[in-house]
Amino acid sequence: MSAPIRWPGGARCAVALAFDLDGPTGSAMLDGSIWRNPELFGLGGYGPFRALPRLLDLLDEHRLPATFFTPAWVLEHWPDRGREIVARGHEVAHHGYRHECYFDLTVAEQVEVLSRSQQVFHDVLGETAVGFRTPSGDWHAETTRLLVEHGFSYSSSMRGDDRPYRHVVGGRVTDLVEIPGRWDFDDYAYLAYQQRPAYPSGQDRIAGYDTTLANWQAEFDGFRAEGLCLTTLLHPKVSGKPGRVLLLDKLLSYMRAPGDVWFATCREVAEWWRATQPVPAALPS
């Protein structure tokens, strides 16, 4: 094992709570089919409309910060909700314009999504995003370079580590910090369900809330025991359903109980990482 990470204030580990506020964006909006599918639009719209206020209350009650990766289309259509996130002390970060899969876009299209979304962030929130989480599946071979060129501070897109690291572009170590997530902490892998289009594709069952909570508590225990950096991929339209807010309530209480966890936005984690961690000389690919 590598040397333990020293977290701020002598904290045992870092937790960067993060939500993907997708709303109704995604592939069905990109191909236009959602405009014939009000059920799907409703399932998505529930996130910013109903779930988000409850989640902001929950975070207030626990006095915890979070990052909301938000497609710019959602900010355009629920601008007050976006401003409320910021007003309550949280971070809003880039998650595509309509939740595009960067893997499928040309470089020019990626630049357009980034530029158009940053303009919306500026118009609605008064500031552009410094964080990026790639929507949907993979990103493109050129995406990392584009993020560096557009001045992003960090990404939270990858799955291959449980600690932050710096991205390498063209053989050069950059200032772009990666805060990797894990599918294990994606609520879609447990709780999301829709009929048309089917999700999960095989229409697997919605998991038990108690068993889901137990998995997440076990993951937290492991991250804390090894002193790592945990971020989450929670979706308000999934985890902000009434009964699941109680699930998150139990999870947050569990994470706070030890009293030795550094809770921060992804932006704060990235800034701290750049400021304190030596730049690696060797270049992992």
Binding site: M29, W35, P38, G45, D57, R98, E100, Y209, P242, G243
Partner: protein, 323 residues
């Protein structure tokens, strides 16, 4: 840790939205589908006696158990009954009606609305209502889409057919008003539906990926935890059941336990769909700003704005649609 709050938007005092100061509303809804979805999925299934019997179990066995559980809990439910169910299972539907439950429209043959024109959708509703009217002496006021989505214009046609409320949509955990017609919507939640957790058939397969049947205790746990939250936040809890799914010797016990748990609270209003819709309509409270149903109506009202068809078009569309 989550503050008790009827608004879900802060630590304010509880303000009831429901009759007699009740803290939350509960609708027990039943889709009496029997074998109809199997037949509707593929006409060739008419020869699949074994598969059809999975659905018919609801009429033959499940309905009696479900009626008994509802009677013992003192719950009046809303049963969405396709017209063909009335014709195929008149005895079972008659029992439901005789027990005093509300009957509501669920199409005629449990049609997939995605493959119907709006006039075909209207025809399915009309035939379903005619069958229920013949049985009960009056047209149903409630409607639940059997499967698929409404074509534009259906909402107004439903109102013409005497439908005053629907329980088909998603996007809220309170009733809301349809933007296009004089209809109250009582929205649904997949996690409060027995079918996604328990329904199973080998061939044709359901679920498509043939996942395992969900553990009973976990499903009861989910339903109970959702009720706890709906009660805390003052919402409208809509349980969606199917006699062929919940009405087995074991699963009916889950429902009885859930009823016992809910009945342990003295501030819960059990309403039928019609009662809840009437109550909501009489409140005369508009939808909260930014409601997904209103946004959807706005964005689909002007073809060529929201209706960008391809990723490329989505990227190059003028940002005028986003006001």
């Amino acid at each position: 840790m989550v503050a008790g709050d009827a608004t879900g938007s802060g630590g304010a005092a509880v303000v009831s939205r429901w009759p007699n100061g009740a803290r939350c509303a509960v609708l027990i809804s039943v889709d009496f589908d029997a074998e109809l979805p199997i037949l509707a999925a593929d006409p060739a299934n008419a020869a699949r006696e074994k598969t059809l019997s999975v659905g018919r179990y609801g009429a033959r066995r499940g309905t009696d158990r479900l009626l008994a559980a509802l009677a013992d809990a003192g719950v009046r439910a809303t049963w969405f009954v396709p017209g063909r169910t009335v014709e195929l299972h008149p005895g079972a539907v008659g029992e439901v009606h005789g027990a005093g439950h509300e009957l509501a429209n669920h199409g005629h043959r449990h049609e997939d609305f995605d493959v119907l024109t709006v006039s075909e959708q209207v025809d399915a509703v009309r035939r379903g209502s005619a069958a229920l009217a013949e049985l009960a002496g009056q047209r149903p006021r409630g409607f639940r889409t059997p499967l698929g989505s409404w074509k534009p214009g259906l909402a107004g046609r439903l109102a013409e057919l005497g439908v005053t409320w629907s329980s088909s949509g998603f996007g809220d955990d309170l009733p809301y008003l349809h933007p296009d017609a004089d209809l109250v919507e009582i929205p649904l939640h997949h996690e409060l539906h027995d079918h996604p957790y328990f329904f199973f058939n080998l061939q044709p397969p359901f679920p498509a990926g043939q996942s395992r049947i969900a553990p009973y205790r976990q499903v009861l746990g989910n339903w109970t935890q959702e009720f706890t939250a709906y009660h805390r936040f003052g919402l409208c809890y809509v349980l969606r059941l199917q006699p062929e799914v919940i009405g087995t010797p074991a699963r009916i016990g889950l429902l009885r336990e859930l009823f016992e748990h809910i009945r342990g609270h003295d501030d819960v209003w059990f309403g039928t769909g019609g009662e809840i819709a009437d109550w909501w309509r009489a409140r005369r409270v508009p939808n909260d700003p930014g409601h997904p149903a209103d946004l959807f109506a706005t964005l689909t009202a002007t073809p060529g704005t929201a209706l960008t068809a391809t990723p490329t078009a989505a990227l190059t569309a003028a940002p005028t649609e986003a006001s």
